[in-house]
Structure formats: C-alpha cells, structure tokens
C-alpha cells in the first residue's frame, strides 16, 4: 500500500510538472485528489490493514495528498502568472507616443520680472503701491522738484492731454502720492511698478510705453549706506550671490545726492564681455537720497526724515536676463515669444 501511494505521488508530480495549461492542471487535480481518485481508493482499502498500521498509513496517505495539492497550487500560480504575463505582454503600448497635452500658459516676461522684484522687497517689509497712469503735472513733475520750465523736463518728453494732465512719464508720482497719505509720519516703504509713457519713436531700444519699478524708503535715520546695502541685496538676489554694485554720481531732480547704480556683469563676472560692453559693469538702476524739497512738499520734515529711492526698467532687466534684443517683442505678444517664459 505504501508502495502504491508513493507510485501515485510520483506519477502525479510528473504529470503536474508536465501540465501546460490551467485546464490540464485542473484535470490532474480531479484525477488524483477527486472523490473517485486513486488516493481515495487507497484510503478506502485502509480497513483491510491491521489496526496498528492504520494511523501510519493514514498519515502517509494524507502526506501524499498534501504533497500533490501543494504541487498543484505551486504549478497553478506559475501557470497563472505566465498567463497574466502573456496577456500583459499583448497589451504593450508605445510609450514614445505623445501624451495628451494639458494646456498651460504663462506670465508675460515683464510681469515675471516685476513680480520677482516685488516679492524680493515684500520680503524686506515693503508694500506695493500703485497710482494712476494719467497724472497731473503736479504729481508727475512739480511734487518731484521739477517746476515748470525746469530744463530736466527735457529729459522726458511727455504725452500731454491738457496743460495740466499727462500720461505719467515715470512711476515716481506714486511716491509723492504715497508720502502725502502718510501725513508726515514714517516709515514709508513702498515698491511701485507700472506703465509709463514718453514721446519716443518705437525702435529696437525705445518704446513710447514701457514699465518702471521704483522703491522708496523714508524714515528717521535712513542713510545712503542703507541704499547701498539694500541694492546690493537686491542685485545678489536677482542676478546671483557674487554680484557687487557700484554707485556713480548722477542727477535726478527728485534725489540729492543722486547716483547711477551699476551691477557687476553676471555674464562675465566683471571680466568684460559684450553684455557689459567690456566694462565689467551693467547700468541697472537710478537712485539717490530723496530730495528735501520732495520730502517737504509731501509733508515730511526734511530735518527729521531722510529717505532713499531707486528705480529701474523691467524691460531692460528682462532684456539682460533673457538676452532679448528688441524691446518691441514685449508689446507684439507673438505667442512664440511669450511661450518661452514658462519657467520665468
């Protein structure tokens, strides 16, 4: 009997191993382990054995049954996996075909530059101030120490609407307006971006409409060294940690002293290249200490308060940053231009 069982096991295992499909395997299971199968038969013959052999033989029969069952299961898993593999293999797709596009637009590069600068100064405690683009002569000029007939008005040929109303030529009137609102009490810390207009014929480097972004800090004890420190920080954030700045004396009616601010060239690190015209420096900002007349006109005591102001052109910064060669691109809005600033 024992022999018979072992033979059955051997036969079954061999068949199981050979089985090529789940169906075949199922048949083998029924054949050996079914109610009418040989093992059941063997077990039925147990009655004929002596009582002392029965448990041993019963144990053996169960072991054989378990061994076969185990074999079947293992084989079944294997076959199932193979079947699945075959099915999945037939489902293979071409992963190089293009994905379903998700629409995406982006900000205009000028907005990207303005927002970057806004955020930088917001981080330093500035808020964003805005004002009208159509301005009075008073705020655009007079409150900024540019009385009528001042020769410096020639620097800015303006679009007048009436004798006293014009398209603002600079964002500085926002400074005058904001200071007035503070009624002589500091601190005033604002950054003011916006569109400005001048009578220039549009070409690669001129535009009758362009943007400016200006900053103003008025408080007790604001020093020119603070201007230098603030702008150094600005230059490093915007153009890289190794940047340095250089102040050159200049003239603006609304600041005294006035300076032009150069940033060490971010392309060549000051060695001299085509971007910086071989000087190692790029002129980026105009700045200075707020002129006492401007403070006084806006209601601040210029003996008590001092302030610094600075201004720059987002077009110029964008042109430098991205290597854009023609200012008119900003206003033509060619989609092939706009879409290049996804990461900006």
């Amino acid at each position: 009997m024992q022999e018979r069982l072992m033979t059955l096991q051997g036969e079954a295992v061999e068949k199981i191993e050979k089985a090529g499909s789940l169906k075949e395997l199922q048949d083998i299971r029924v054949e050996y382990l079914g109610k009418k199968g040989p093992i059941t038969e063997v077990l039925k013959g147990m009655g004929k054995l002596p009582a002392e052999e029965r448990p041993k033989m019963g144990q053996l029969a169960n072991d054989v049954r378990d061994a076969i069952t185990q074999k079947v299961e293992t084989k079944q898993e294997k076959l199932e996996r193979e079947a699945l593999d075959a099915k999945l293999s037939s489902e293979t797709i071409d992963v190089t075909l293009p994905g379903r596009p998700v629409r995406k637009g982006n900000a205009h590069p000028l907005t990207a530059v303005v927002e970057e600068i806004e955020d930088l100064f917001i981080g330093m405690g500035f808020s964003v101030a805005e004002g009208p683009e159509v301005e009075t002569d008073y705020y655009n000029f007079e409150a900024l120490n540019l009385p009528k007939n001042h020769p410096a008005r020639d620097m800015q040929d303006s679009f007048f609407i009436t004798e006293d109303i014009l398209l603002r030529t600079q964002t500085s009137p926002v400074q005058a307006r904001t200071m007035e609102k503070h009624e002589g009490r500091g601190p005033v810390k604002i950054i003011s971006p916006g569109k400005v207009y001048r009578r220039d014929t549009d070409d690669a480097t001129h535009s009758h409409q362009f943007m400016q972004i200006e900053g103003l800090y008025v408080d007790k004890n604001v020093r020119m060294s603070d201007l230098k420190g603030t702008l150094t920080l600005f230059a490093q954030k915007l153009f890289g940690a190794e940047r340095e700045i250089r102040l050159r004396p200049s003239f603006f009616p609304f600041t005294e002293p006035s300076v032009e601010v150069d940033v060490s060239c971010f392309k060549c690190n000051g060695k001299g290249c085509s971007i910086c015209k071989r000087t190692g420096w790029i002129e980026i900002l105009g700045a200075g200490m707020v002129h006492p007349n401007v403070l006084e006109m806006a209601g601040f005591d210029s003996k008590e308060y001092t302030g610094f102001a600075f201004g720059m052109g987002p077009e110029r910064i964008a042109m430098l940053k991205y290597g854009i060669d023609d200012i008119r691109h900003f206003y033509a809005n060619d989609v092939r231009f706009l879409e290049q600033f996804k990461r900006a």
Binding site: P98, R100, P101, V102, K104, G105, N106, A107, H108, L110, T111, E118, I122, G125, S127, V128, E130, E133, V134, T136, N149, H150, P151, A152, M155, F160, I161, T162, I165, L167, G186, K189, K195, Y197, H208, R223, M224, S225, D226, K228, G229, T230, L233, R246, R248, P249, S250, F251, E256, P257, S258, M289, P292, N293, Y331, A332, N333, D334, V335, L338
Partner: protein, 810 residues
C-alpha cells in the same frame, strides 16, 4: 560737451593721466564720460612738407608734379590732383609707407608716366569730418600755417594727436559746458593745481561809450548787457591752433571774428555775439520785448515772426538779434567788417528757452543760456574775446565796457555740517577731510567746529541746499568708500493688498488654464477706442486723447483692451500661429467731461481672446475648437476662484461688434460687470482673422465685491439619492433658467442640479429641444427615503411643467 584732452592739459596738470584714465576718474566722481575718441584714426607716417615747386603734369591737365621737402636729404616728387596746391605751401604729406584712416597704405606709384612718392593730404583724407573742414579747403588739400616745421609729425600740427572726451552732462552740471568749468571739475577730481587763462587787455584811450550806448527795458529779462567796440579788424582765417580746437569741439572754423566768439564760448561758456558796427544802424543798443508780429531776418536768412514774449536786441528801432538765440543778417560780420560791436550779456534763461523753442532754433549759445551760464564770468569773457580780437585779428580795443546792469552779483552761502553729512551718507568722514574736499573744489568757506559756511561760486548755481553740498562731499570723497549697511528703522510687514493678491490669483489661474498673458499699448486709434466697448452702453463716457499725438495709431487712450487683443490675434495669425488664447490685465480710461479738467477714470479690466483649437491631440483623434462654452468654462472657474460663482448671471445680449446670438453680458449681484461672446463675423472678416471669442471684465467690481471667508461644510454622513429628468422645452427657453427654477423648487433637500444632456434636431418636434437634468437630493440630518424624495421631486416636475411649458420625455 566735447572736451579736448590737449586743450584741458593747458589748464590742469594731466601728467601721468591718460585720456582713458581721466575719463574713468571723471565718471566715477560725477560726470559721465560717454566716450573717448582718438582724433588719430589710424594715421602713421604723415609729416609736414614744404612744396618747393609745383608744375603741371605733362600728360594730365588736372594733375600737378610737385617737389616737396619732407625733411629728408632730397625733396620727393609727388603727383597731386588738388586744385589749390601751389609752390611755397606747407602741407601734410603721407610718405611712402604711411598709413591713412581705413588702413589705406601709401605706396610708390606712377601716374601717367610720372613717379609719385607719397601723397599730399586733405583734412578729410586724414579723418576729419567733412562738415568741419574750413570752406577754403573743402575741395582740396589742407594748407598748414607758415610756422609748421618741415619734417615734423603733421599730427601735432593738426592736433590729430588729441583725444576727445564726450561728457554726458546732466542738466545740473551746465557749469561743465565749457573748458574752464571742466578744468575746475578735473582739478577737484584729480587734486591737481588749476592754471586758468587771465585776459590782459591793452585798450586805446578812445572810449567805447562815445560809439555806443546800452539801455535795457527790463532788468528781469536781461540782468546784464555789456558791449565793447573793437576797431581796425582784419577779417581772415583764425590761427591753426584755434581752428583745430574748434574742429575738435565740433565747430567749423569760419573766420577769425566768428571763431573767436565761438572759442570763448567753448572756453568760458559765455555766448557772445559780434555785430558789424558799421551795419548796426545806430549808436544805440536797446534791449526790449518784441512787438507782436515784428519781424527779423536771422543769420540763416530766414524771416522770423516775433511775439511779445520774445526778447530782442534792437538798434533803437529795428531788432538786430533775438536775445541769446540768433543774430540778424543785416548786422552780420562779413569779410569787409572793420569795426566789431561785441555783445556779452546775461539773459533770463526761460526767455531764451521759450524763444528757441518757438523759433525752432537751438544753438550752442541758446543751450548754454537755457541751462544757466556763470553770471559773474560775463565781463571777463568779453575781455577775453577783445584780447583775442586784438591779438589775432589786428583789432584795437576801445576803452571800457559799455554796460547796463550790475557786472557782478553777490555770492550766496550754504551751510553744511559734517555731522549731518555723515548721517545722510552713512559715513564717518573726518572734518579735516571735508576741509580738503572744499579746497579741491575751490569753494571758499568759513568753518566753526564741523559746520561749514560755504560761499557757493556763481559757476555752480546747482548748489543751493545743504544736501547739494553733502553730494559734493560724498562724490569727491568717493561713493565706493561709503559702507554697505541695512536700514535699522522699525520693521514693517511687507505684503500685497487684497486687490493685488486677487490680481495675482486671477493671473495665475488664467495662466494655469492655458492662456498666455499679453501686455499691449494703452494708446490706440480713435476708431478702435470707439469699438468693442461692449460694457459701456448708452451714456457713453468720452475717450481721452493726447493733445499732440505722435501718430494717429497712438492718439487716444483705450476704453477697452479688446481691440488690442484682436491686434495680437491678427499679428499671430499673420504668422501662421492659428491657436491663440491670451489675456491681459490693464487699465482703460474714460471721462465724463467733454473737456478734461480732472483725471479720467482709470478702470482695471481683464480681457481675453480665444481662437483656433482649444485642445488638440491628433493621434488620438481629439480636437476641440474654441467655442462660447470653452470661454465660459474658463470664466466659471475664475469666478469660483474669486468666490463669486453663485452670484454671477450670464444674460443673453446683443452688443455692437459681437455675434448677436452668441453673446452674454455678465451680471454680478445684478450689476453688469462684463461681456463674453463671439466676435461678430463681419468684424472677423474685417480683421481678417479666424473665428474668435472675447471676454472683458471689470476687475475693480469683481475685486471689491464682499466675499465671505471660507467655512468648511461637513462631509455627507448619509447617502444621497439621484433622479434624472429629461424635459422637452421650447427652443427659446434657456436651460439655465430652468436649472435655476428646478433649484428653487427643490428647496433645501435638492443639493445639486446639473445638465447632462442636450438634444435638438431629429425626432424632436419643430421648435423643441430636450434637456436632461440630474438632481441630487440629500438630507444632512438623516438617510433619505424614496418617499421623502418623491414628494419633492414631484413638486419640482410640476413646477417646471407649469413654469416652462415643459413636458417629460420618454
């Protein structure tokens, strides 16, 4: 201002300072040098030659065979084609092996059989601008003056070894519009001794006042007028050194009298005018306002009509010059002039500015008067010119200056304390260093502790306040020596205001939805300003136009952004970019006033334009062209972002420029805040673009709407029940209205209504359509039963049947 390095060297010791170094130093301390130009445009091997013989070429009418001594053992033979070449001349000779501008190498040559060993040069051939060449040498070679040394380098004789510094002067530094002023600045910057010219005059015993009198109507208009009379003048060319300096400064030499006035203009910054005394027409100078309509023929032979706000110099009856702007042709100095009446005056800058603007005449003189000349240098400049007329034009200077108005005005003083200067600059400059700085600037001062009482020289009218002196201290001390600090004041929260935050939110949302941000021009044409302002209805506020537009294209401020966006669509479609989805946030401008007295209303608007495909994924056969609902979907999302979606209503509308059946106005709480629709096909054709959809919203209105804060709604705890209904409706019944009706009838239990199907056409009766709605019922308190729902649902169905003449389908 063009500054000759060689000339400047006479006034300031520039030993060891190259032109480039000088430029760098000046730029760093305040005056930007925009360029340094070498007058030597690549010349070598050009020497002074003496033409010993000059004969006509045997085989060529227009050529001469010259024997020229160039300081070598033998004279050389040079063939020269210039009509003015002659024996006895000193000329500039390019020897064999010489190089002229443009890398032009001089070689031995044979011209019609005669050997030529070099070239006699014209100024143009030596790189001088043709416009600067004196007229007598314009068509030929340049003839050097007698004293030129044969064989020496001609560049020195012609001042072509000079360098020109171009100063970019800001309006406050008019003091550097002359060599003396530049010398003061350079001496301060380099800390070098100044060495200025001191005019010395030998005058005759005859008094100028016997020849001329000076009267000024109003000393406000003309605070000082001085006249000198110089007799026995011989008009002729001015000396070479003077011509060279004028050429270097960009002024063409004319004759000694004119050249001397120009030279003193460059040297002292004082505009002068020379009248021909014999043609002046009287012995009286009267400075007065012009009469309206009075005429004068100016030096350029133009007849000019004057107005009462113009200041003129007259001979008592007729105007002979427009003050500070230009002289008259009648009294112009000519070759036959023998007596010169020299004017040196100070005119009110704004009068000169106005006249020069009105007459369209800008000159070296008017520019200087406008920007402010040194009031106390007028007298000295007149003497300097008289001295030069005596020395270089053989003149006899009559005794005295005939003048009206004070010759000099008092200095004024400005006080600065070292403490304050250091406080403003953030420096710790020692008092003794401030002493040094004022000495370098040649400013006189008195000092008490660290308070300096500075006597501001009249050449520096830009200095009127303590801050102006602080700037002087700072720039001479050196801005590179100012430390780098951060403000120490009170801290402030930096943030965007709510509208700014919302604007960024809107921009981000639209970008992330697939639109590109555009920025267009605010100025447009009158015609475009009058179109697509679909928002403004009957009471049309006027547009705002600029008073002197540069072109019709940029004449009027926009009232709507839409035409600009259509231009962008057109621009792109002209370049085969057919799919465009863009938006712009920007200002528009309107006024209620017919004549603008107050600032116009500036409204921030948000506009968008869509055309072509909204979505395209070709290999999976997906293609979605832009339509009304694409745009509406984008807007719906936007309103949701702003928390306004429940308060916005789309109302069918007809507006000029828009498709009459595919346009809606948008209402926020019943107030019109925007428009969305298809561009009218007729307009589309006119623009020559493809089907385009537009929207424009009033951002101010959207941003100022009160929005409650976000409050969390508890998640559903009980299951909801859905019921679908398909309604057959009349074509003109709007699905949205029915939806709103269903919502109202469903009450609190009806949590959501959505449209899931629309059917029109076949199997439908004429004029009917089928719209299917899905209704979701929910009770937050308990699990709904079918009975609960049925009760409400029947009410809903009865309501829509009754209210919208609807029938249930299927």
């Amino acid at each position: 201002m063009l500054v000759s390095y060689n000339w400047l060297k006479e006034y300031v010791d520039l030993e060891g300072v190259t032109p480039d170094e000088l430029a760098d130093r000046i730029t760093k301390s305040g005056i930007e040098v925009e360029g340094v130009e070498s007058l030597n445009k690549g010349i070598s091997g050009v020497v002074v030659g003496h033409v010993e013989a000059c004969e006509q070429h045997p085989n060529a009418d227009k050529l001469n065979v010259c024997k020229v001594n160039i300081g070598e053992d033998e004279p050389v033979q040079i063939i020269c084609g210039a009509p003015n070449v002659a024996a006895g001349q000193k000329v500039a000779v390019a020897k064999v092996g010489a190089v002229l501008p443009g890398d032009f190498k001089i070689k031995k040559a044979k011209l019609r059989g005669e050997a030529s060993h070099g070239m006699i040069c014209s100024l143009e051939e030596l790189g001088v601008d043709a416009k600067m060449v004196p007229k007598e040498f314009a068509d030929g070679i340049y003839v050097l003056q007698e004293d030129a040394e044969v064989g020496s380098d001609a560049l020195a004789a012609l001042n072509l070894d000079d360098h020109i510094l171009e100063l970019g002067l800001t309006p406050n530094r008019a003091d550097c519009l002359n060599m003396v002023g530049v010398a003061y600045e350079v001496s301060a910057v380099l800390e070098k001794q100044l060495n200025l010219p001191k005019p010395t005059l030998s005058e005759t015993t005859e008094s100028a006042s016997d020849f001329i009198s000076v009267n000024i109507d109003d000393l406000e208009d003309n605070p000082y007028y001085g006249a000198k009379v110089i007799r026995n003048i011989q008009v002729g060319p001015s000396p070479e050194w003077m011509q060279n300096r004028l050429i270097a400064a960009g002024i063409r030499p004319i004759n000694n009298v004119v050249d001397i006035t120009n030279y003193v203009l460059l040297e002292y910054g004082q505009p002068l005018h020379a009248f021909d005394y014999d043609r002046f027409g009287s012995k009286e100078i009267l400075v007065r306002r012009a009469k309206d309509g009075e005429e004068i023929v100016t030096l350029d032979d133009e007849k000019r009509k004057l107005e009462a706000h113009h200041l003129v110099i007259t001979n008592g009856s007729e105007p002979v010059a427009v003050a500070g702007v230009m002289g008259g042709a009648d009294s112009e100095v000519s070759d036959t002039t023998t007596t010169v009446l020299l004017e040196a005056a100070y005119f009110n800058p704004s009068l000169v500015r106005q006249a020069s603007k009105d007459l369209g005449l800008r000159s070296e003189s008017s520019t200087r008067f406008e920007k402010g000349i040194d009031r106390n240098r007028v007298y000295e400049a007149a003497n300097r010119a008289a001295q030069l007329l005596e020395e270089l034009a053989g003149g006899e200077v009559l005794e005295g200056m005939v003048e009206e108005g004070p010759r000099y005005v008092d200095h004024y003083n400005v006080t600065v304390s070292g403490t304050r200067a250091n406080k403003v600059l953030g420096t710790s400059i020692q008092t003794e260093d401030i002493h040094k700085i004022f000495k370098r600037l040649d400013f006189a001062y008195e000092v008490e502790e660290d308070v300096f009482n500075v006597e501001v020289p009249t050449r520096r009218p830009d200095i009127t306040l303590e801050e102006d002196l602080i700037e002087e201290i700072g720039r001479i001390y050196g801005y590179d020596r100012i430390p780098t600090t951060l403000p120490e004041g009170s801290t402030t929260p930096g943030e965007l205001n709510p509208a700014q935050k919302k604007r960024r939110l809107v921009r981000r949302y639209l970008q992330d939805s697939g639109l590109y941000q555009a920025i267009t021009y605010s100025l447009t044409t009158e015609e475009k300003a009058n179109r697509y302002h679909g928002l403004a209805t009957e009471d049309q506020p006027a547009y705002v136009g600029v008073s002197m537009p540069m072109s019709e294209e940029r004449a009027v401020l926009r009232r709507t952004i839409l035409p600009q966006l259509l231009e962008v669509v057109q621009y792109n479609q002209n370049r085969q970019i057919n799919d465009v989805a863009i938006f712009e946030v920007g200002s528009t401008y309107m006024t209620e006033e017919s004549k603008l007295k107050n600032l116009p209303n500036e409204h921030q608007k948000l506009a968008g334009a869509f055309t072509g495909l909204w979505h395209s994924h070709p290999w999976q056969q997906e293609k979605k062209p832009v339509d009304f609902y694409v745009v509406k979907g984008v807007l719906d999302g936007l309103f949701e972002k702003l928390g306004l979606n429940d308060r916005i209503v789309y109302q069918q509308a007809k507006r000029e420029g828009f498709h009459p059946g595919r346009t809606a106005i948008l209402l926020l709480d019943g107030k019109q805040i925007g428009i969305v629709g298809q561009l009218h096909p007729a307009d589309q054709k006119e623009w020559d673009i493809k089907e385009t959809y537009l929207f424009e919203l009033e951002l101010d209105e959207l941003f100022s709407a009160d929005v409650p804060p976000v409050v969390y709604n508890a998640l559903p705890r009980y299951p909801s029940i859905s019921r679908d209904i398909a309604l057959i409706l009349d074509q003109d019944v709007q699905a949205g209205e029915v939806q709103a009706g269903i919502q109202a009838a469903g009450g609190d239990l009806l949590k959501q209504v959505s449209i899931f199907d629309l059917y029109e056409g076949e199997h439908m009766d004429e004029g009917k359509k089928s719209v299917a709605y899905s209704l979701t019922y929910y009770n937050p308190e308990k699990t709904l039963t079918d009975e609960d729902v049925e009760k409400v649902h029947h009410k809903v169905i009865d309501y829509v049947k009754d209210q919208f003449n609807a029938t249930m389908r299927g």
